[in-house]
């Protein structure tokens, strides 16, 4: 049912979503921890900044990312200087854009999870002479696991469903940046509805299975605390 190009687009989507989610979980952990714990007057402005990608329509966000990462933009100047070349129209560019686009979906669940960890438990760990890293790995992380699950699911699903940003940054290049959503758009534009339906069905079913796995694990937790 799926052509070679369809399979390729599907795999590229999964790869993009997986890499983006992994990077986001790593980046968002210290950021969310800081946002949840700090009393700095910068807390509110930084929170607002993290939520900003929600405000812009994806094609608009994509356009400004394209300009910023292009040869005349500040990010483009930086990456060229670092010898990385220009990011748009590469897989790396898609990852960077997706990280920006899905940032609030990962930071906010983590921030809430960290905020829910009681100060008492942290104090108790400190009294028992646990080093901060030790406390984080053995006290905070287990308590925040549901938050990580939500953050991972939202980051992954949001990246799979991306369209406007990846179309603008990726340039719709087969095999390199043409993800499933863009491939479906291509099929629709070319009036190849049968192929569009087939690929869309695969994307939906696969995503459902992934979400089912993740949410299923969460349900088990609720039943057996």
């Amino acid at each position: 049912m799926l052509s070679h190009a369809d399979t390729q687009a599907l795999l590229l989507t999964l790869r993009l979503a997986a890499v983006t989610t992994a990077i986001l979980l790593v980046l968002a952990t210290p950021a969310a921890w800081w946002l949840a714990r700090t009393r700095s007057r910068w807390q509110a402005p930084v929170s607002a900044l993290v939520a900003l990608p929600l405000v812009l329509p994806p094609t608009v966000l994509g356009f400004y990312l394209l300009v910023a990462m292009g040869p005349h933009g500040p990010v483009g100047a930086l990456t060229t200087r670092l010898g990385l070349g220009l990011l748009p129209f590469t897989f790396g560019g898609l990852v960077v854009a997706s990280v920006v686009y899905s940032l609030p979906f990962v930071v906010q669940p983590l921030q809430n999870a960290f905020a829910a960890v009681g100060q008492g438990q942290l104090d108790a760990a400190a009294t028992l002479r646990a080093a901060p890293l030790d406390t984080f790995l053995n006290v905070v992380l287990p308590l925040a696991r549901p938050g990580y699950l939500t953050a991972g699911v939202l980051g992954f699903a949001h990246t799979v469903g991306e369209f406007g940003v990846v179309l603008m940054i990726g340039g719709n290049i087969p095999g390199a940046t043409r993800v499933a959503s863009v491939q479906i758009y291509d099929h629709v534009e070319a009036l190849e509805y049968a192929q569009a339906h087939g690929l869309a069905a695969c994307l939906v079913v696969f995503s459902f299975v992934i979400l089912l796995l993740l949410y299923g694990s969460r349900h088990v937790r609720a039943v057996r605390p």
Partner: protein
């Protein structure tokens, strides 16, 4: 499966996906990356296949809205040939030094059609516009899309614009306008003939092919981009567009090959 294992399995699956190699992408020296206006996606697919058969070169096609593709070209997109949906965008790229001067030319003329998904709803003279027996008239946004501008121009020539304007539903591009009519949500719409025409007749529904005299020509220009300046295969693709085979494909899709408007592609 307990919760820890299930979550672990899920994240392990993510990790495997992340590092798994992609299906091999055939990379060849004679690949020509070409940016194509979305309305020309269908014929371009066939033309690319014929081009590969005839020359051994491969056109790697990326489709999108003409304006978006131009923004990408200006920001370093790796395209070598650009097939736009209008004549102004390639001219602008040439002015900005992003296209090779002297290579810009018309490759196709689009035709506008008043179309309905319903058999027999549109007569062959477009009189249905005057009878007014419809609630919605779909067209592409005239500010953004050449086909939308041509539709408004046609209605003005017919003296019907003011009367029908309250019934307009505007698509962001001609593809969306077609979806409005194709799905039956709008009874009537101005769409591109290429969307509803194959091999000499309407694929479904009924339509009136708007006489070319009622609007400015829907000329679509192609140009060699700066990145393809030294690539013989890119120039070969531009020339191939004027060949017998490419033109037959365009005609079967309801385009008029723009033979008469063509100058030789500069070598």
């Amino acid at each position: 499966m307990n919760n820890r294992n299930s979550a672990l399995v899920s994240f392990a699956a993510l990790a495997v996906i992340a590092v798994a190699p992609l299906l091999p992408v055939p990379a060849r020296a004679d690949d020509v990356p070409v940016a194509v206006a979305a309305n020309f996606a269908g014929p371009m697919k066939e033309i690319a296949a014929t081009f590969a058969g005839a020359t051994g070169h491969h056109a790697v096609v990326s489709t999108g809205a003409t304006g978006a593709l131009a923004a990408q070209v200006a920001n370093g997109a790796p395209f070598e040939v650009f097939l736009a949906a209008d004549a102004t965008t390639p001219a602008r790229l040439e002015k900005d030094g992003l296209a090779v001067p002297g290579t810009r030319h018309a490759y196709a003329l689009g035709r506008l059609v008043l179309w309905s998904a319903q058999e027999g709803a549109v007569d062959t003279a477009g009189a249905v516009l005057k009878s007014g027996d419809f609630a919605h008239l779909a067209l592409a946004n005239p500010k953004l899309a050449p086909y939308g501008a041509a539709a408004v121009e046609t209605l003005e020539k017919l003296g019907l614009r003011t009367a029908l304007e309250p019934r307009f539903v505007l698509g962001e591009n001609i593809g969306q306008a077609f979806q409005f009519v194709g799905s039956g949500n709008a009874e009537l719409g101005f769409v591109a003939l290429s969307q509803v025409w194959r091999d000499g007749r309407f694929t479904s529904g009924s339509g009136w092919i708007v006489p070319a005299a009622l609007h400015a020509p829907l000329q679509q220009d192609a140009v060699l981009l700066a990145r393809g300046a030294d690539h013989a295969a890119a120039r070969a693709l531009l020339e191939f567009l004027h060949g017998e085979k490419a033109q037959a494909i365009m005609r079967s899709y309801g385009y008029e090959p723009a033979v008469e408007a063509v100058g030789a592609v500069a070598r």
